[in-house]
Symmetry: C2
Subunit: 765 residues, 2 copies
Amino acid sequence: MRSAISPLFLSSIFASWALLRAADGGPQSLAGFATESTKAQLAVEQRFDAQLRADDQKEWMEQMASAPNHVGSPHDKVNAEFLLAKYKEWGWDARVEEFEVLYPTPKKTVVELVAPQKFAAKLQEPAVAGDRTSTQVADELPPYHAFAADGDVTAELVYVNQGMPDDYKELAQNGIDVKGRIVIVRYGGGWRGLKPKFAYEHGAVGCIIYSDPRDDGYGAGDAYPKGAFRPADGVQRGSVLDMPVYPGDPLTPDVGATKEAKRLAIKDARTILKIPVLPISHADALPLLAALDGEVVPEKWRGALPITYHFGPGPAKVHLSVQSEWTLKTARDVIAVMKGSEHPDEWVLRGNHFDGWVFGASDPLSGQVALMAEAKAIGALARDGWRPKRTLVYCSWDAEEPGLLGSTEWAEAHAAELQQKAVLYLNSDGNERGFLHASGSHALQTLVNQAADSVIDPQTKATVLKRQRAKLIVGATASDTSEEMKRIGKLVAAGGTPPLGALGAGSDYTAFIDHLGIASLNIGFGGEGDTGGVYHSAYDSFDHFTRFGDPGFAYGVALSQTAGRVMLRMANADVLPHMTDSFHETVAQYATELHKLADTMRENTEQMHRVLDEKLHALAADPTKTSRPPEREAAVPVLNFAPLDNALLRLKKSTRTFDDAMTTAQKTGLKFDAAKRTGINATLRALEQTLLDPAGLPGRDWFRHMIYAPGLKTGYGAKTLPGIREAIEDRRWQDAEKFSVAVANALGRYCDALDNAGAALKSRN
Amino acid sequence: MRSAISPLFLSSIFASWALLRAADGGPQSLAGFATESTKAQLAVEQRFDAQLRADDQKEWMEQMASAPNHVGSPHDKVNAEFLLAKYKEWGWDARVEEFEVLYPTPKKTVVELVAPQKFAAKLQEPAVAGDRTSTQVADELPPYHAFAADGDVTAELVYVNQGMPDDYKELAQNGIDVKGRIVIVRYGGGWRGLKPKFAYEHGAVGCIIYSDPRDDGYGAGDAYPKGAFRPADGVQRGSVLDMPVYPGDPLTPDVGATKEAKRLAIKDARTILKIPVLPISHADALPLLAALDGEVVPEKWRGALPITYHFGPGPAKVHLSVQSEWTLKTARDVIAVMKGSEHPDEWVLRGNHFDGWVFGASDPLSGQVALMAEAKAIGALARDGWRPKRTLVYCSWDAEEPGLLGSTEWAEAHAAELQQKAVLYLNSDGNERGFLHASGSHALQTLVNQAADSVIDPQTKATVLKRQRAKLIVGATASDTSEEMKRIGKLVAAGGTPPLGALGAGSDYTAFIDHLGIASLNIGFGGEGDTGGVYHSAYDSFDHFTRFGDPGFAYGVALSQTAGRVMLRMANADVLPHMTDSFHETVAQYATELHKLADTMRENTEQMHRVLDEKLHALAADPTKTSRPPEREAAVPVLNFAPLDNALLRLKKSTRTFDDAMTTAQKTGLKFDAAKRTGINATLRALEQTLLDPAGLPGRDWFRHMIYAPGLKTGYGAKTLPGIREAIEDRRWQDAEKFSVAVANALGRYCDALDNAGAALKSRN
């Protein structure tokens, strides 16, 4: 599903640029490879590249995007069978694994304005000139939100902006309560599923989410079909499953949703929404918003519709009705395996989903066809006798869109084996023209950057890494750039390499990293294609993608090259290519942010208390308007971060010692006996798992990673050091200190493992 | 004219809050007054307040705003005569002083789209339901820009956002040239007159300025008559005279435009625009902007019209024609004098203009009627036998709107006498519901704050000062507040009093402070009225003002009270109430900003040079779009600010010594003999003039003040330490260092005067 517009989710840190190259400009030695093996590896990659054809990707996308392919649709099944046949044709050991997942589909959807005048929302995306598949309206599901509650409500309407916590604070200060009312919410500012959840928590009985033209319609660029952006009737579908609690089938948390699995009753599933919610277009939203009165909303709440935006409540009154068919549907994951010649029990996994909301050309097929091209190329190498040293597992996931169902159920079903064998899960999703963005386990930053340094950007003929670096430096010179981007720009300009972002929960890596502690990466190109405007709509079509996404599939090939290198290097490395200084630098930066967060909150709270104590708020407010003082929040004590800070002191030492040992060992050829190598690799394979805490995060023990998690109140977006950070944000001081200890313990286990591996690397034999 | 929305133009600094009050909460001693005289003064102010009637102001406004009152209109003359009669009725020695000023009025105005389809702009503001004067369309001048050139041009259209220097940089990077084209510009971001000036400098042959609904139309609030904001056909008129070069009659710089004055030929007047320009409504702008194509503009360029904003150029082609009658018109300043009983040759001046663009209810009559109420109240005191110690001069200015003509010509005509006698010029302009904002000579900050501390806010019943303080503290807690507002909020919260802003050139104080070096202040209430949306339009009417500006004229009375206190205290003070620490703090803050400005520019330039040297720009740009690298700008050397910094060291010492002497003298009753007191007051009266440099600022020697000036590239907005600041911004390094010396010399003269006055205060007799 990935977020509509993929910024470079950058976090922090830096391997030295110089580390990537030898003095002559060529790669010195690939991380994890001795000089000899580097040469062999580069030769394999050349042969791999030679197999990649842009036209393959184009042909597969046209075929797979030719009909609606949501979970349970006839064409979704056709695509699974197509994938299975292709993997087999290319020489892989492929199978379909089926799961029976709860996936409600709409039977009836209604949005009507009933006062002060009548208006019935269209709730359909009509055919658009020049977009061939857009005529298949009858075969599509109507626009809806998966896992909305059934309901039929009529109530006054309130506009709540993006429906995030700060918006409800603003409403409260304006004396507006959403209790018993229906809220209309603008897309953006946080994950979709949180909007109806927060609305419910504030007492709303229904929720309507619309796409404001300011964000992805004519306000952002010319509307489709003239340009790429969302037309007046375009709707963003999507899941509202409460994935930050746990993703996957809501009836089978922690276990695979096999036919036999024990299931919760629907009413007991915590992740299913409690109120009805529907997505609508801006053409349907306009009469609703125009019928609101009350005070004018603050400037940042205003969109690009030609009206004055008001809070309401009323006089607009709305009838909202949603009825779904709550049955189990079959999700078909297509799994293809190529057994490793030397380490068959070390698995390198690659995944991308293939189910879409409608035709799903950009999301997810643009990524799926790049993955297929890799599988085809590897198959060709295998036909010529080549074999990976470790086992490759290619996964085409079904049922990602409703809530990461396909990948999560598979990961849960194979949890023990995965924790035993997996060395990497590499994910992609939508892909388009532009710059490489990469997020994930920070000890793999050097691996990613070395791959990016050996792929040529199809437009500029510079390496992908160079282009990424240029973008970061130039971006930092913009007058309106953030402090964070300035910091990164300066570091990159000073010789650092682009940092990996932190993983949130926008795609299929979630179960692997957050639940199982498997080192994971998510990569893709973007920033120059314009598919964001048709995100999750029927206009995300082959015709749209080939005009605006990646017309010649050159970036599809670039993704295959980049992902292929990561996969093949991980498969063939003499020693698993972890370079851990990046991890230390990143976590240290997160800790710095937490110190700052607590200090800033303390200062702001003190100021707010002064305002309340001296009743300054009433003096500063316009007495002709309703204005309630902000709620009094607890003062922020000085928190004990000493366990965290001390753990970082050790981490700095352990990571440097390990990286030095790795570098030295590489220079001398990584010549260990098999048992020793196996030992070192076993330690590194399990490294990420040291960061799991079996108790998990508060209220969501499915999420066990102590460094990264999706934000409970932000959704897709990552929260780093989430146990501490969310505790501070929620003013749970005891939890903040408790998780400072939990993170310290996790880092301690990480250091123990590193120290072992480092010692092994040093002791020659 | 004042800028449409008057933020608190805050600069910096702080007298102690405690200094204003005695321990019991009452005023300890008014600045410049001994304890005895304080009591007498407060008694006079009570009698003054008792004379103020909101209904007077309402009645006068209704009368004066009943017909169009632009310069040269019949009703403008009627208003001058009405004012003269009133001043006389109230016992003032009043007269009209006439000046013959160049004031072009439109004979023909045309804006037409001629391709790709035809559209003729309406260029009129039709009657609006419930707004009684809006029916007088026939008596109004059509919307136009005073001092636009005559011209008739047809050319391709280009959208240039707000038409400021950064916008032209953006156009250049997009490969777009305005040469030979007509530009369409959005209001905002800088003074209106700069927009056609910069367009001309970039080769445009015509300019159209429109009001985007995002800024003051339906995007900002409900349109008139439902709400206060600019309706679809509303137009913002205004002057485009190049006032930052010199304001006033363009034909008589430096001298009064009396009948006999020697005049320049129109072609030789530097301040008259060289190309035609017209203002239009957003209803007229929509078809023009919708007909543009080319790349989509950057996000911050986009307005609230329901279109995708494009740069052009073309295919829109526009015909623009302006023809004016270039004749002299009579400006009638009404001057009323009440001679001082003790120091008749020390003048305290008060001014507000009375000419409007159409009916001018908010701008300027809301301020004018407050001034009239003061004159009436003072007249009543005089009838009862009271007399000010110094001479009061009340000035109702004509011809402010076209370019500060009335006040500037009068100040130039009386320059020598004013520099000899004036102790203060206190200005106001439009006024509405809200918070006090005050700008001006920083040594008078205590005077202003003490006045604000003794006036009760009509809505909250707190003092005006307390409310202002609350606003600053609460405003600083907003998440999106600026660093500067945060700094001020913290200082005020810590006990400082609200700082005065710096004066730019938005109203009639300009000649007094910038040209003659007379201590000046500009005050008014605002921030809660909603007259900004009808700024300079026919809908700035009595009906609008009494719904949205200041319905009960309570803030008109508050302005009379505040201004009356400043005037009466300045008139009766034993010693002129300069407290100079505020001045030092302010200038020191300006100097800190300059250091930072140079450092930031140096760093940014270095980054930009790296981008250019390594050709990173091309790598970061989308190759499918035109994208030129930014121009290479000169590196920023380390500048010698030592003269300025050393002058500040002395200023700190001199101001503290003087303020201490003043405080001590006040405690002991300010008992000097007459000659000594006269000597001290003479020094303080001339204090501001020490800050003038006769050589003036580069390219505009009319502006002689070394601390404050309107920005040559920002217009209304103040540039502080302008000789240095604008030199840095323009990369004129020699000028920056030259003016560092000039400012240091000015501050040296200021210190000399202060040291003299301080020594005199200390030597008892």
